[in-house]
Symmetry: C2
Subunit: 151 residues, 2 copies
DNA sequence: CTTTCCCTGTTACGGTATAACATCCTGAGG
DNA sequence: CCTCAGGATGTTATACCGTAACAGGGAAAG
């Protein structure tokens, strides 16, 4: 799943720590641990898998959900609504609208930048709405699964 | 919530019946009942609210979830992933990619046609993905809630 | 008539998420 | 040093969302 490990993981975590500090927030143990698990996975992870993998016999649900909420708020992670899963954000620490391609066959996901925010913004304006967040999840088949190399 | 009632509701239901028949499917009692509840609500409804409102002491979850699955498959309803809720589709019976504006304050939703499918398709193609379905949900404030008239 | 296929009913369960409250740090100000 | 306010965490319990698995029923085709 292209997850991080070793030096790259450490680098990503310390970079995250710096960004969190710059935002006058704290990267506490539980937040750091959850981010680490998301980065290691390199793909979507279910909340209860994080809970189980947390260590020392696991964590309680609120611990992990609070960490996820924090990571989302600061732009280190996204929630995939259509999968009930969470994923580390490749553009960690920069708040932005996320868009995903999700393979219906193997679950592989890619975060993309389709540049649709402006069009949605216009459509919202036409209905008098002001926009504050965007969820865009496209389901399909990844290259491997299209050709049968999948899984 | 702009829900349907009386003649308009009857008309919508019989139109749905015709479309279902044209698709060589059956609009059974439970399917018709769930569609009726969605149309009456005129907005997003939670599955368990449908279960409670179903009548005769309510229905069992599988009954309602099966009906919802059917209605989605035929394009009569959509699931709002970010709300865990379901909504009747204004373009009932025509399968299409849905996009929604959702008010974070009062929950009002509008189905829009932002015309982004082509852009997402291109972005998917660039990553080798073939597209089969699209979820687009924009959160913001509706006109009433922006001006404080909300609720 | 009977076979087939789809739809439904029912029980039970598993996965997802949060409420509510107690506790504990940590940093600012006295 | 003290203490006090605010955020973060720990803990228990519970509510909500969705589905598996299997039995039964009913209409249409042969």
């Amino acid at each position: 799943m292209a997850g991080l490990a070793g030096r790259a993981l450490d680098a990503a975590l310390s970079k995250a720590g710096a960004r969190v500090a710059a935002a006058d927030e704290r990267l506490t143990d539980s937040r750091r641990r959850v981010l680490e698990l998301l980065l290691k996975a390199g793909g979507p992870v279910k909340a209860y898998d994080l809970i189980a993998a947390y260590g020392q016999g696991g964590a309680k649900p609120p611990t992990v959900y609070r960490a996820l909420e924090f990571l989302e708020r600061l732009g280190f992670a996204h929630r995939l609504e259509s999968l009930n899963a969470y994923v580390a954000c490749p553009r960690s620490g920069e708040v932005h609208a996320a868009a995903f391609l999700i393979c219906e066959c193997c679950g592989a996901t890619v975060e993309i930048e389709p540049g649709v925010a402006d069009r949605v913004e216009r459509a919202a304006g036409a209905h008098g709405y002001s926009l504050r967040g965007l969820t865009l999840e496209a389901r399909g088949l990844c290259p491997a699964c299209r050709t049968g190399d999948g899984h």
